[in-house]
Each structure stands twice: as structure tokens, then as C-alpha cells.
Symmetry: C2
Subunit: 437 residues, 2 copies
């Protein structure tokens, strides 16, 4: 039988692996809070390494704390085929985002082990550090360093709200490895990733599996506004430089700009105002915009429109203020910072890798799957810059993600893991043929 195709993952073992590993970071509402490099992340990493070692894998940890657990093949002179995702979560996240990818990869390794399958190439399970970017923005930080999108220094120096850096936290939890974090020094042959869809499309069409052909383009922005701290009781309404009111107008305008461009999405999820006093108008407001679009050209249009719309809000404020206050008002609310803190163009996955996912999905699901573009970024965006990459989406409930209510059925996870197994073995056959040729 070609490709060892008769073998299947063990559903009940995969299910119990979720129960076991999600004990670190679970929250009473059924969700997860396992921010990157916290103590729960440390514990689940140690657990993961132990599981892989039991299967005879060797384990490497790189300078960004990325874990590579490698199961040897027949020809260990070629780089391993990677199966990666992440074990960190949002602060109020679910049990599936990222976790499905790593635990399915572990189940694939166990299935190969049980069936004594010797692959041609070595196979690597990868846990990428800080995919969420929730603790240390931006997202996909460590696959980004590996893929050359960020320097190691940039990766190490990212810090959380308390000022702890990635490097200091890696040291603290014992995961500052010495393997260089780069494709060139520590290569893969390919990268496959299962992930929950995080959207409603598969559920709407009653499908378990999506074959992901690429990822939409993304920008993140940081904005700081400065107005005047003024007494809320005594300052006439028309003499105010009300920073939070300007921010509120921008948030609405950002929403309208994205609604006006089909295929674009933009929103503000983080806002901070100071001083925090009911009786004093805020004089400084910081917020972030997350913007996405189905093409680089559309994102470029959205980029221009967002900046224009936000600048119009401050120009209105300045005009109004100067007409009433003259120079004494110092010109209303100003935009102190308009900064693009992250840019990620549209990703198109490798045609061969995608076709192997598609073939595997056809075998496992009998044709019941669809091709999709991912709305979210994933570690595969950065691996795709260096090696053939493809992704498998599985259905999730109501498209809900980054939320304790995030949920995927076990049968859908099983289907995804079996598609991953089939894609991996197909890619292994391809490498064998290519090397022989």
C-alpha cells in the first residue's frame, strides 16, 4: 500500500492528551490562559518534551525557545519535515487555537511509532514560541525569527506590560536554548500545520476540513493621541481637547472604513487612557488597530483610508480648538504617534504541499472539504518564506475563537490529524523520489 495509507490516529488517546496538557493554564470557564513563557507554558513544554522523548525523539531548543522534537528517518542527512503550531494562548483563550496543531502532531508521531513506520526523511514536531503575541507583540514572533522576518535581537527584546523581555523570560523558565534560531542553521524540508478555522465557513457548509491555500495580508498599528487634561466639571464643552472623545470617533471611523471595502477587516481591541480619573479629561490615549485584507493591494488601500480617516478626526479637533481657544489651547487633540508596528503581506502556500494536503483530505474525507484562505496569521506564514508550507483547517463552533467558548468536536480533530498524517507521508514519499532522482 503506498504511503502507509492504511494507518489512522487513535482518537481516544488524542482526546486524553488534551485533558492532560490543558491542565496547565485552564480557567474555570472552560478556557485557557497560558500566556507565552509563563509558568504554565513552562510546565506544558516540559511535558511535551517528555512525551516526545518517550517516542525516541531527540529534542532541540533554539534561541527563541522553539522546541524541535525530531523522529529520525532512513536518511537523516536531509532536513526534517516539520509539523508545528503553538501551545501559548490568549489571556482568555480556548483549548484549541494552536493546541490542536501541536497535539495532533504528537499524535501523528505516536501513530508512526505504534505502527513502526520508518519514514525516509526525519520528522519534527515543533512548538513555536509566542505565536499569539498577546503577551509579547507581535504575533508569530519566533517562527518569524526562524523565517528571517525579525532579527534575534528584535525577538529577544520584545517585552510584556510589566517590562519583562522574551529573553529574560526564556531564561527564567529554562528555555533559552543554544540552537541558532534560523532556517539556515536549523532547516526543515517542509512545514505542515493543523489549526482550527477560527471562522464560520466550514460549519456553514457542514465540512470538517479546509485546505488552506494562503493567508490574508495583515498590518498592526499603534496610535497615541495627546489632548488636554482638563476638569470635567468646570471646562465648557467647547473649550475641551477631549482625547478619549477623539479616539472614540476614530474607532467608529476605522469600523466604517473597513465596512466600505469588501474583503477588508479592521478593528480596535486595545485601548488605554490616562490619567484614570473620572473628573479629569484624559490627556493621553493609546490604542492599536489590527487590519487585514484579502490582497496586498486592498490592504494598501485600507492603510491609506485608515490614516486619512483618523487624521481627519484630529484635524477637526485642531480647527475647532483654534477657533475657540486661539493659541492658548495649543491646538486641540494631536496625533503623537501613528506607527505601523507589524506588516505581513499576503501569503500563498506552496502548490505541491497544498496538493498533498488536498489529496490526503480526499482520502480521509472522501472529497468533503474546501479550499480556503486563512483570515488569521499562523506560524506557517513565516515558515512559508523559507520552505514549502501548507495548512489544514478544522471546523470550530460558530467561528468563535480567542474565547473560552472556542470548541471543535473530537471527530473533527481526528479527521484533521489523519489528514496531517497522510500529507506528511505523501511529502516524505516525494522527498524520497526527489532524492533518488
Amino acid at each position: 500500500m503506498p504511503h502507509n495509507l492504511g494507518i489512522r490516529v487513535a482518537s481516544s488517546r488524542l482526546a486524553s492528551t488534551f485533558d492532560e496538557s490543558c491542565s496547565w493554564g485552564s480557567t474555570p470557564d472552560g478556557g485557557m490562559n497560558r500566556l507565552s513563557l509563563n509558568n504554565d507554558d513552562k510546565r506544558v513544554r516540559e511535558w511535551l518534551i517528555e512525551q516526545c522523548k518517550q517516542l525516541g525523539c531527540s529534542v532541540k531548543v533554539d534561541q527563541m525557545g522553539n522546541i524541535f522534537a525530531i523522529r529520525p528517518g532512513k536518511n537523516n542527512s536531509i532536513p526534517p519535515i516539520g509539523m508545528g503550531s503553538h501551545l501559548d494562548t490568549q489571556p482568555a483563550g480556548g483549548k484549541y487555537d494552536g493546541i490542536v496543531g501541536v497535539l495532533s502532531a504528537l499524535e501523528v508521531l505516536r501513530t508512526l511509532h505504534d505502527n513502526q513506520v520508518e519514514t525516509y526523511a526525519p520528522v519534527a514536531l515543533i512548538d513555536w514560541t509566542n505565536e499569539e503575541g498577546a503577551r509579547f507583540p507581535p504575533a508569530m514572533l519566533s517562527s518569524g525569527v526562524w523565517g528571517g522576518a525579525f532579527t534575534l535581537e528584535h525577538g529577544h527584546s520584545r517585552s510584556d506590560a510589566s517590562g519583562n523581555t522574551v529573553k529574560s523570560e526564556l531564561e527564567r523558565i529554562g528555555f533559552l536554548g543554544d540552537v541558532p534560531c534560523s532556517y539556515e542553521a536549523n532547516p526543515l524540508s517542509a512545514h505542515f500545520e493543523i489549526h482550527i478555522e477560527q471562522g464560520p465557513a466550514l460549519e456553514a457548509e457542514n465540512l470538517r476540513i479546509g485546505v488552506v491555500t494562503g493567508v490574508q495580508a495583515m498590518n498592526w498599528y499603534n496610535i497615541v493621541l495627546r489632548g488636554r487634561e482638563q476638569h470635567c466639571g468646570t471646562t465648557p464643552m467647547n473649550m475641551r481637547a477631549d482625547t478619549l472623545l477623539c479616539a472614540a470617533k476614530m474607532i467608529q471611523s476605522i469600523n466604517q472604513q473597513s465596512l466600505a471595502l469588501p474583503g477588508a477587516r479592521a478593528s480596535v481591541a486595545v485601548i488605554n487612557s490616562s490619567p484614570q480619573s473620572i473628573n479629569t479629561l484624559s490627556g493621553r490615549v493609546q490604542f492599536n488597530i489590527g487590519a487585514r485584507a484579502s490582497s496586498d493591494a486592498l490592504l494598501a488601500t485600507l492603510d491609506v483610508n485608515l490614516e486619512k480617516a483618523c487624521k481627519e478626526v484630529v484635524e477637526d479637533s485642531v480647527r475647532l480648538d483654534e477657533s475657540i481657544m486661539g493659541k492658548s489651547g495649543e491646538g486641540g487633540v494631536k496625533m503623537e504617534v501613528w506607527e505601523k508596528i507589524w506588516e505581513c503581506p499576503k501569503t500563498v502556500f506552496d502548490e505541491r504541499a497544498v496538493s498533498m494536503v488536498r489529496e490526503s483530505a480526499r482520502e480521509v474525507e472522501g472529497g468533503r472539504f474546501k479550499d480556503m484562505v486563512s483570515g488569521a496569521g499562523h506560524d506557517s506564514v513565516y515558515t512559508a518564506r523559507k520552505v514549502p508550507t501548507a495548512m489544514i483547517f478544522i471546523r470550530c463552533k460558530a467561528g468563535i475563537s480567542h474565547n473560552p467558548a472556542e470548541f471543535s468536536k473530537q471527530e473533527d480533530i481526528d479527521a484533521g490529524a489523519n489528514v496531517l498524517l497522510g500529507a506528511l507521508l505523501r511529502y516524505d514519499d516525494y522527498l524520497k523520489e526527489k532524492t533518488a532522482a
Copy 2:
């Protein structure tokens, strides 16, 4: 000469007292950060007590940490005439708000001392605890307990953002006194207060002094919205329950509601969203509204309009969500909390006390003053519930307050202190005549 009216405060001493006492809590930008009951507040309180003791005052500290420094009179069987304000500031406040009131009162005591004036009634300088409410909302907390607006338990249990209570912080800095905090147990005969205007009216008319006849009506609100935490990249724009977007719409609508009612003011200065993740729509947003109006009736109208406007925003969200998501969406963004956390009706000050301020202003300023209604709340709002109360406003630059740029000229402060001295002596004469009669 009636009323000891020839005497005047010492300008240079009053000026140097500012320099001396503002060393605790001053910020590099020329402002102050002396949040109630912090270590700087402790030090300035200790300094104040020392200054008053040097003048022969006895000092009482009550259960809310209010300091009463009492200079004896001829007849110590009647309650002292109070001169009070506060030494705490906003987190990014100025050197004048509250501080002018306490330091002018100290200068009045020193002037009485220098001129060996024996008043008929005793005279009390009062430093009221936590007037700003910036660290422990609401404002005017401890004059409020003294005046019966709040219970002692309420006052003691207010907490800051770190969970420290007023009581524990009073204990920590050694200012949890044992004098009962109430008018009944520790009465005054009257209360006079100097304060900076915190508005632009006196400057606009080139006047130093305002005679304050009352304080506008005020409400504070706490609002909590609950939407859905959703992935910002994958969730279609029309399937979102975007909590921060709803809050932004409300902030704009609150602004519009207050603009629509001349004499009303409403604004949002505090907002907090969670989780703080660029990639996850916030599922919980908390904010506060501060609302004021020139009459109780107008504030009641504003109250109805604000609640209606904000409820319309959530109703729109619920309608939209249910039309797209059905029951699975759980109904869009909801208003979990709409709570009035502070209500303070319009205050009208005592006619006799106000007339004595007016007479004193006429003597000091030769008729160059105006009657005014205060836009801000002050400790005098709560003393007015129990004893004849009046206030003196002094001019400040550009109406700026709650800001490091807050500024009043020394000559304006001197004028205010002399008006206070004259009003105090007039009220003392009135008490003497009244007791004799």
C-alpha cells in the same frame, strides 16, 4: 476699627509656603502627583500639623484622617469657624487645586497670630481627606462622611486600583484618628473655602475674585459592557459583538446628549477594555461618565437622555447580532452594569455666609468681583449640608485645572486669602453678636 479689618496676609510668606509644602509630590513638569494617603500626602500632613502647632493650635484627626487645627477664641464653648480645603491632588494635577485653600487658611492663622487677634469663636483650619477621589472614588469622600452623605463604613471601604482601602492606607500613614467623623460629634459653626476657579470666567472679565453662591448638580456613572471575545482576523465584520466599538459609539452619543442641553456637561474620562490583545476583540469594557448641570431638573433630564442614548447603542447591537447570528451569537453587546455611583444635587450656599464673603471682597477688591456658580464639586458642598458655608474663587490661567499647567498668580492668591480673612472675622463678629443677643 470693626472686624480687625486693617490687617492683611503676608504675600511672600504665603508664596514660600507653597514652595515648601509642594516639595512633597511635585513632578518634573511643574505639576503635582500627591494622590490621597500616599507617602507624600503623609509628609505634607505632618508638616501642616507642625506649622499649626507652632501657632498654638490644638490638632484633632478624625476617623477619616480629616485634620482639624484649632486656634482658640474667647468663647471656646461654641464650635470653631472652619476654613478648609484639601492637600491631595490628581495624578497629573497642579499646585493650586485644593492647596490654595489649605495654605491660605494657614496664612490666615499666621496673620491672626502675628497681629495677636483674639477671635470670639475658635477658628479651625481643616485638611479634608481624599477630596479628589482620584485614588479612591468618589470625590469629596471625607467631607461627605463628616456631612452625613456617606457612612463611615462606606468611606473606610473605598479602595484604589490595587485594592488598598482608605482605612488600611490611613492606618499605614498614621492618620486613622479616633475623633468621630461627623458634624454632630465634631461640629463647626461655619465653613469657608478658597479655591481656584478651574474655569475661564474670571480671567475673561479680568477679575481676581469670584463670590461662589453654589455648586452645580453632579452624577457619576459606572458602565460595564459585555460582548464577545473574537479573533480580529477571522471573524467577519457582520458577525462581531465588538464591545469597544459599542463603547466608542456611546462616548460620542454622551457628548452629543450634553451638547444638546445648554447648561449640561457630560464626558467619559476613564475607560478600560479587556483582554488587552490586539488580535482579540475586547469582550468587556468598563467606563465612567461624569455628568453635571446647572439645575437638578436639567441633570434629571440629562440622566434620562444619557441612559436612553446608551441603551439605544446596545439595542442596535443586539438587533443586528440576532438577525445574523440567531441565538448562537447570544445577542450582541449587552449592558451588564449601568450604575449611578454618585449623586450630588445642586448646592445653594448660606445667604449670610455668602454675603460676608461679598462684603469682604468689596473691601479687598473695591467691587471688582462677581457672583458665580461652581462647576466643580468641593468639600464645601458637604459642609453646606450641616453648617453655613461659602466659597471664594480666585482666577486661574486659561481655566486650566487638573493639569500640571494649572496656574494662579500670587497677587490673586493674596487677594483670595485677604477675602477669606475678612469673611472669617465678619462671621466671628456675627457669632459674637448672636451669642450676646
